[in-house]
């Protein structure tokens, strides 16, 4: 999809599925076949609300799911499927090629170990550096994220929230990965600190050629920082394309309604909530998962799940309204 502009993606996810075991033999189908492409130096936004499967998806890419999870699909890192052998093929690449900044990472530091020690830990574990060399690299990393190198001997409680988040980013970059997965990196931060962190992430991708997937529920953040975005709902990607297009020409009602539900600083349009709630994923659904809440649902929406269709350049969406076969019927239902 993004290969249309010639470059090869550094990370390609194809048909990724994740199931979680529930009691009494049931399963929760948390991720239902998602495809993603990430080019070097690109920032891709993965947007959705709670329970849509965005965090589970990137945890799956990292192979960080518990034993109650089953994964299927391909995760291509520079052309090689690292998911082919499960944990055994994923773990050599973990942190060295793909790294992650977890949700709430800034609160997950060990309070009794110095920051420098904690950032050096992945370096030691993955045989990247140790001892004096590690210390030097830690210093460089801290400078890279905007903390002075001599602060590596401090403890986490001596840092503010924003600085701890920077340290978490430094820890993710410890082994010089090509791909960074950031899960809600600015959610708990003040808007000014958020701006600082986003600025940092932008400069890291621009200067280091780092590819980044930014997982968030905050649409304006994605609008500001990511040129491309994928919108997730009920375990599937319902629309993917340039962020500009997603806002101005959305081709899935959820995308449009999600933007409409977000108040804008200057916009005067009414802010509308989306009634109802996402479907339960422990049952098999018929039809489009969004149909019950959709304001433009029509006949086929209740019967079959829509296919992912190309609706523009590097723009896909899964909605029956985009199907030329249903064009007449769709036009009859006025939005």
């Amino acid at each position: 999809m993004s290969e249309s502009n010639g470059a090869t993606p550094v990370l390609s996810v194809r048909d990724l599925h994740v199931w979680f075991d529930l009691s009494e033999g049931r399963e929760l189908h948390a991720v239902q076949g998602i495809d993603l492409d990430l080019l070097p130096g690109e920032r891709l936004g993965l947007v959705g609300e709670s329970g849509c499967g965005k965090t589970t998806s990137i945890l799956a890419v990292m192979g960080l799911l518990p034993s109650s999870a089953a994964v299927a699909g391909q995760v291509m890192l520079n052309g090689t499927d690292i998911m082919a052998g499960g944990e055994d093929t994923v773990s050599p690449h973990r942190w060295k090629d793909i790294a992650m900044v977890f949700q709430g990472a800034m609160n997950a530091f060990n309070p009794v170990k110095r920051i420098g020690e904690q950032i050096a830990e992945p370096m030691r574990l993955h045989d990247v550096a140790s001892g004096k060399e590690a210390r030097k690299q830690v210093g460089e990393l801290l400078e890279l994220v905007g903390i002075s190198a001599n602060r590596q001997d401090r403890f986490p409680h001596e840092f503010s929230g924003g600085m701890r988040q920077r340290a978490a980013i430094a820890m993710a970059l410890a082994c010089n990965p090509k791909v960074l997965l950031a899960d809600e990196p600015t959610t708990a931060l003040d808007v000014m600190v958020q701006a600082q962190i986003l600025d940092l992430l932008v400069s890291l991708t621009n200067e280091l050629g780092l590819a980044m997937i930014l997982v968030t529920h905050d649409l304006p953040v994605v609008a500001q920082v990511c040129k491309r975005a994928a919108v997730m709902y009920a375990g599937k990607i319902v629309e993917q394309g340039a962020t500009d297009t997603l806002f101005h020409e959305p081709r899935h009602p959820y995308t449009r309604m999600l933007f409409q539900a977000t108040p804008d600083l200057y916009g005067d349009d009414a802010v509308l909530s989306i009634p109802g709630a996402p479907p339960r994923l422990d049952r098999v659904l018929t039809g489009c998962p969004f149909a019950p809440r959709c304001d433009s649902a029509f006949h086929p929406c209740l019967l079959e799940a829509p296919e992912e269709r190309e609706v523009g350049e590097a723009h896909v969406a899964s909605c029956h309204r985009n199907d030329p076969a249903h064009a007449a019927e769709a036009a009859a239902v006025v939005v």
Binding site: S50, H217, P263, V271, S273
Partner: protein
């Protein structure tokens, strides 16, 4: 847009100061360390009229939550007046406050913690009636409970009355909290970050509910860190920094024509929904200083991009700058 200006204000806060002592402990006392105080609120003036929504906006540590708690008398103030319907409630005893508490209610940020998990919805909404001895008999109280649930958008009310909180979604729980506040038929509502823990698609519903209540004559004081929400739903915005209001006025005016350098920076840094509407963010360096150490002169001067020498000497008061709309006040000598 608002009905203010014609009726007497519900709430008038004048020169409010709230300080917390920082405990020194035995070591500190023996070592004669200086007695530190957290200058949470340092001289705040604002009013809320019936049918008006005023938003207190700011980053963490600015004192907005403490202001709300002081107004509710959950915390004692150090100086200043809190006038509710003309009466000074700042000095009232607990017994005297009881009838006032009927009139002024609060909603908290966390819908998952706001409700006692052992109480059914019916019991939660009934509790305020029992505390204040309202209702002629059981049947009358039941009716009031159902009516409050309806006002909060939980229809049909009997569907929800017997449920436990864990059976409800975040948005529904918040509505229960709102119903518990409405059952006493207050004239004023304080909403402390009412939607920040809810999904985007649900937020608008709650905010519209609050807006509807406002149009019905309720005065609402909303505490939020989200400028976009404040800009969209509030009639007036007061921007707080380190215990002071640095700018206040009609929300449209403050957002489109900010005069204080802090407000300008904040607005530039808030991400916009529309990818094409991103402005160059004016990112301030560092983070909000420690509220125990307030800088001399203007408290913003260490981070202010246009600070001059005289800014370290004068502590500016709120005043109307030239060329601004009526009711728009700024605390900056350079505005």
């Amino acid at each position: 847009m608002s009905t203010e200006g014609t009726s007497a204000p519900l709430l008038e806060v004048k020169g409010l100061v709230t300080r917390y002592p920082v405990p020194r402990g035995i070591v500190g006392t023996v070592a004669r360390r200086p007695k530190l105080e957290v200058h949470a609120v340092e001289g705040v003036d604002f009013t809320v009229a019936p049918g008006e929504m005023v938003a207190l906006v700011g980053e963490s540590g600015c004192g907005k939550t403490t202001t709300a708690q002081t107004v509710m008398r959950m915390v004692d103030h150090t100086e200043g007046e809190i006038l509710f319907r003309g009466q000074d409630i700042g000095e009232m005893s607990a017994g005297q406050l009881q009838p006032i508490r009927r009139q002024m209610q609060i909603i908290f940020q966390d819908p998952y913690e706001s409700l006692d998990p052992r109480f059914r919805v019916h019991d939660t909404v009934m509790e305020p009636l029992l505390i204040h001895g309202i209702g002629d008999n059981g049947k009358d109280r039941d009716e009031r409970v159902l009516h409050a649930l309806e006002r909060a958008g939980l229809t049909p009310p009997d569907l929800f009355a017997d449920r436990f909180p864990h059976e409800l979604s975040g948005g529904q729980r918040q509505r229960v909290a709102i119903a518990a506040a409405l059952v006493l038929e207050p004239s004023m509502l304080i909403a402390d970050e009412p939607v920040s823990m809810l999904d985007v698609s649900v937020r608008a519903g709650i905010l519209s509910l609050l807006d509807g209540l406002r149009r019905g004559g309720l005065g609402i004081l909303m505490i939020t860190h989200d400028l976009s929400t404040a800009a969209h739903f509030a009639d007036r915005i007061a921007v707080m920094y380190l215990g002071r209001i640095v700018e206040e006025g009609p929300s449209r005016e403050v957002v489109r024509n900010p005069r204080h350098p802090y407000t300008k920076a904040l607005i530039s840094v808030v991400p916009k929904r529309d990818p094409r509407m991103q402005v160059e963010p004016q990112i301030l360096t560092g983070e909000t200083p420690n509220p125990t150490l307030v800088p001399p002169g203007c408290r913003f001067h260490p981070r202010c991009p246009i600070a001059e020498a005289r800014c370290t000497q004068t502590d500016p008061q709120l005043r109307e700058p030239d060329g601004a709309d009526e009711g728009h006040r700024v605390a900056c000598i350079l505005a």
